[in-house]
Amino acid sequence: MTKISLTVDGSKVSDDVEPRMLLVQYLRERLGKTGTVIGCDTSNCGACTVHLDGTSVKSCNVLAVQADGSEVTTIEGLAAADGTLHPVQEAFRECHGLQCGFCTPGMIMQSVDLLKENPSPSEEEIRLGLEGNLCRCTGYHNIVRAVQHAAGQGATTGAVQA
């Protein structure tokens, strides 16, 4: 067991963990942060994406011990303390960028990071930036719209883009 101390969604936490424990397992099983989900076992799907010291990571690809001393933000810590949604969360709802919602936490966390790196991405840049996150419901169409919307590009939110 190794002792780790870190900040998760603004709260300081400290635990003894097995060296093999993944960050996503730590978040879900020890902290009850079940907003972050596990969709695969090969680091392909990105459903578990969180921010580690401000950068998006797949939390299945980080050991809990590697997060020692770091600041982690999950989907549960993205909205403001008063409940005001992050603009990317709001954009996903506005543009119907989710259906079943399982990929959504990872998709939103990745989109936030993408827009931080590139506030005015082209459609191509958005698509490449989300390549590591799989969605089976939306066909990505409205996820791309949501990122454009959050970037203030006035993306169409209507159903018919004719």
């Binding site: 097995e18 397992q25 009850g32 942060k33 079940t34 907003g35 989900v37 596990i38 969709g39 695969c40 076992d41 090969t42 392909n44 799907c45 459903a47 999950t74 989907i75 549960e76 993205l78 909205a79 949604l85 969360q89 996903f92 709802r93 506005e94 119907h96 989710l98 259906q99 079943c100 919602g101 399982f102 990929c103 959504t104 936490p105 939103i108 459609e123 958005i126 698509r127 490449l128 989300l130 390549e131 590591g132 996150n133 799989l134 969605c135 089976r136 419901c137 939306t138 066909g139 990505y140 169409h141 409205n142 996820i143 791309v144 939110t157 209507g158 159903a159 018919v160 883009q161 004719a162």
Partner: protein, 831 residues
């Protein structure tokens, strides 16, 4: 009770943002795997690495002593308590099907089958101990190739289940001459051979994996008076029924909950061995138990979809007027006949004739057992296979006649003034307008301009050629009239149930038997009820997915929730109004006959006197002053059995660029105009269409479940099974024409499967169209660059892809399930 004044004129048709989203975008979710109960234990499964083997012995001693292991159980330990996994649709009376025990103790029939289960205090400890279970197998020959399996007998070849003496599960036939719905197809083919056109093709529907994003998970709590199962399922009601029917627990003692469910696409339309094992373990140990599969387990053990060989013969006159269609299918069931099983290809039986006026038609389907993962419904279920076949054939016919693919379709389709139209398969299409959808699609697509560009590229010998693919599809959805299901030997009905509860505070609780897993029922159903009862959208709460709340239902699949479940809801709401009417009259001191209900308010005709339905609900709650003999409730319920299937249609147009030197493909444009009748929420509809399109496009271009020569699934992780990403796909242009359905009150048609059904042939038609002038008339799916390159270079339809699917395994030959289509007969299918 003034909410009615704030309502928009009509909720139906509004792009309401979804009620479901707030919790999903903030991580406040209830996926089954998120549940933790006091004292809960965790399971890990031990799975067979062999496709077919006898279990000689299972040594659990070492696993049993591992840290925090509570028990290790085999099929022999569980015995009859494990129940059995059922097939609800034996398609013929003499269907051959092996008994499907959740955990067999003597023989495994596919790689991935469970042979032992470890129970431990944590999931990690259970998984560690599962590695310590020592199973001694005696490997048996495995039946893997579909055609070979169909041809095998107890004398020759390999049997998936030797005791059965055959791999042939069932043979199902429809013949229009026998049914009296059309002529004799063999005569039509004979006539066409003499003096017309005969198109003969063999197409492969490759095996796909539904690959919902949420891995399946199940929690069973045996500690209450009712045993409770939470499961990531599309079918909580069917699950409850099957548990009761097979495990000896009275149905009234079983509560099944489908909490937030992360996608299904048919893949969670199942009753699974893992659910049954978890049920049995929890009952045995008396503690809450959870099992959550890994993605790799999901891909190998969750049911697969498609997997057919299709032998097709289309007869036509010289001018391209179709005269007959004969279909001979081989359908791979995998190792067991699953819940819907052979019913999946049979659902396609009525759709091969599609929108065209075939005078004669015959459908033959042989279902076959193999030692591969079992197959069942995957988005579209039978109808994508049928649509692919007919839409590819119509392109081939157009090429033969030498006309535009749209012209050959128009020559043969049902004209809009001919509805309702009874097809050669015996279905009555209630409404549609193929001309209007096609005209709109051509306009959006810029059809004539793209055809001109195609000509220019061909003329200049451009390295990158342009292809235009057409798919004018229809489908049958809204499963289904119970009477028809009975005629087809399905084990249940096709009705749906709804109830509407009027709360004292003016809020409305709606309970539906449909069970959403991403479709947005809470939003769309709220819109329907808000309009029907004249209450605020926000005041409607939609409850579902828990058999103790929604005690009655048949769940969500087959694009049925809106067209069947929505109609039940309309009827329940109408009953509320009728029950409220005499009470409103009493409150207004008026005659019932003088009341009219509009905008949520009962008004006395010709006066300004009125009372809102919410006020009636409050009066009923108090019950201080009701008319004599009137029950103090206006809550109502309805169970609706559809009178007919439902027939959405549309025209899909796809432009593909094909690099003739490398085989690289690029989707340039995709336009679809779907006629799905009245639209409740355009935003939700668009999402369904987009997602459906990409799943169908993925079959055309990327996805394939590949087994190696020993029956191991080599595309068994997301590294190897190629789900499309945002970078692989494009934005779509979608629109709608509207021919309201005539068989439900709202005029709605299903939309959940439309995109998937329509898009696969549109894409393949585009790819083939791009290189048809180079002598190519087919490319096998998925149309990988390698296959396209090979086809362009004269190697038929591109050959098998197993080498590319399993790069880690070197250059070995594999996957007998993938050979080239050819002139060899689809052995065993057809008369």
């Amino acid at each position: 009770m003034t909410a009615i004044q704030e309502r928009p004129a009509a909720e139906i048709g509004q792009e309401r943002r979804r009620k479901e989203d707030q919790r999903l975008i903030t991580g406040r979710t209830r996926w089954t795997d998120n549940l933790t109960l006091p004292g809960m234990l965790h399971l890990a499964m031990v799975r067979s690495p062999f496709a077919h083997a006898r279990i000689v012995s299972i040594d659990v001693s070492e696993a049993r002593t591992a840290p925090n292991v509570v028990d290790v159980l085999t099929g022999a330990d569980l015995g009859e308590s494990q129940g059995v996994n059922i097939n609800a649709w034996p398609i013929t009376p003499d269907q051959v099907a092996p008994v499907h025990l959740p955990m067999p103790s003597d023989r495994v029939a596919f790689a991935g089958e469970v042979v032992a289960v470890v129970v431990a205090r944590s999931a990690a400890e259970a998984r560690d101990a599962a590695e310590l279970v020592d199973v001694d197998y005696e490997e048996l020959p495995a039946a893997l190739d579909l055609k070979e399996a169909a041809a095998a007998t107890d004398q020759e070849g390999v049997l998936a289940h030797p005791d059965l003496g055959t791999n042939r599960s069932a043979f199902w036939k429809f013949d229009s001459a026998e049914a009296g719905t059309g002529g004799d197809v063999d005569e039509a083919i004979q006539q066409a051979r003499a003096d017309g056109i005969v198109i003969e093709r063999e197409y492969r529907q490759q095996r796909l994996i539904p690959a919902f994003m949420e891995p399946r998970s199940v929690v069973v709590d045996p500690t209450g008076e009712q045993l409770t199962m939470w499961s990531a399922t599309q079918v909580p009601h069917i699950l409850r029924f099957a548990l009761a029917a097979t495990t000896g627990v009275p149905e009234s003692k079983i509560r099944v909950i489908a909490p937030d469910v992360g996608g299904g696409f048919g893949g969670k339309l199942q009753t699974t061995p893992e659910e049954w094992i978890t049920w049995a373990v929890a009952r045995r140990i008396g503690k809450p138990v959870k099992y959550t599969e890994t993605r790799s387990e999901s891909l190998v053990s969750g049911h697969h979809g498609r997997d057919q060989w299709q032998k097709l013969t289309l007869a036509a006159e010289k001018d391209g007027t179709v005269t007959g269609l004969k279909v001979e299918l081989l359908a791979d069931m995998g190792a067991y006949v699953s819940l819907v099983g052979g019913g999946v290809p049979v659902l396609g039986a009525f759709m091969f004739n599609a929108i065209y006026k075939f005078p004669s038609y015959q459908f033959n389907c042989q279902t076959v057992l193999t030692n591969k993962t079992w197959t069942d419904a995957y988005r579209g279920a039978g109808r994508p296979e049928a649509t692919f076949a007919i839409e590819r054939l119509m392109d081939e016919l157009a090429a033969e006649v030498g006309v535009d693919p749209l012209a050959i379709r128009e020559k043969n389709w049902i004209r809009h003034e001919e509805f309702p139209f009874t097809t050669v398969a015996g279905l009555e299409y209630d409404s549609g307008n193929y001309e209007a959808a096609t005209a709109r699609a051509k306009e959006l697509f810029g059809y004539d301009e793209l055809r001109a560009e195609q000509q220019a590229r061909r003329a200049s010998g451009d390295r990158v050629q342009l292809g235009i693919g057409v798919s004018t599809f229809t489908e049958m959805c809204g499963l289904a009239p119970s009477r028809v299901l009975g005629q087809l030997d399905y084990g249940a009905g096709g009705w749906e149930h709804a109830s509407v509860r009027m709360l004292a505070t003016g809020k409305v609780e709606v309970v539906t038997g449909a069970s959403a897993h991403g479709q947005g029922h809470e939003t769309a159903f709220s819109q329907i009820v808000a309009d029907r009862l004249g209450v605020a959208f926000e005041d409607v709460e939609v409850l579902h997915g828990d058999t103790q709340i929604s005690h009655k239902g048949l769940d969500t699949y087959g694009s049925r929730s809106l067209v069947v479940g929505g109609e039940a809801l309309v009827r329940a709401a109408d009953k509320v109004i009728e029950r409220a009417r005499p009470i409103a009259a009493h409150m207004l001191e008026a005659s019932v006959d003088d009341l009219e209900f509009s905008g949520g308010r009962f008004a006395v005709r010709g006066t300004d006197q009125g009372v809102a339905i919410g006020e009636v609900a409050t009066a009923v709650f108090a019950a201080h002053d009701l008319p004599d003999g009137v029950e103090p409730s206006i809550d109502s319920e309805a169970t609706y059995d559809p009178v007919n299937f439902n027939f959405p249609h549309g025209t899909h147009l796809c432009a593909m660029e094909v690099d003739t030197e490398t085989g690289e493909l690029k989707m340039r444009k995709y336009v679809c105009v779907d006629d799905i009748g009245t639209i409740i929420n355009p935003l939700i509809v668009a999402g369904q269409v987009h997602g459906g399109l990409v799943q169908g496009i993925a079959q055309a271009l990327w996805e394939e479940a590949v087994h190696d020569e020993s029956g191991t699934l080599v595309s068994g992780s997301f590294v190897d099974y190629l789900l499309p990403t945002a970078a692989d796909t494009i934005s779509f242009e979608i629109d709608h024409t509207t021919s309201p359905a005539t068989t439900n009150s709202l005029g709605t048609k299903g939309v959940g499967e439309a995109g998937t059904i329509a898009s696969t042939p549109a894409v393949v038609n585009a790819v083939v169209d791009a290189v048809r002038h180079l002598g190519v008339h087919d490319i096998q799916m998925p149309c990988t660059p390698e296959r396209v390159w090979r086809a362009v270079n004269g190697a038929g339809s591109g050959g098998s892809t197993e080498g590319a699917a399993m790069p880690h395994f070197g250059d070995q030959e594999a996957a007998g399930n993938q050979e080239q289509p050819g002139t060899a007969s689809t052995e065993g299918a057809g008369a």
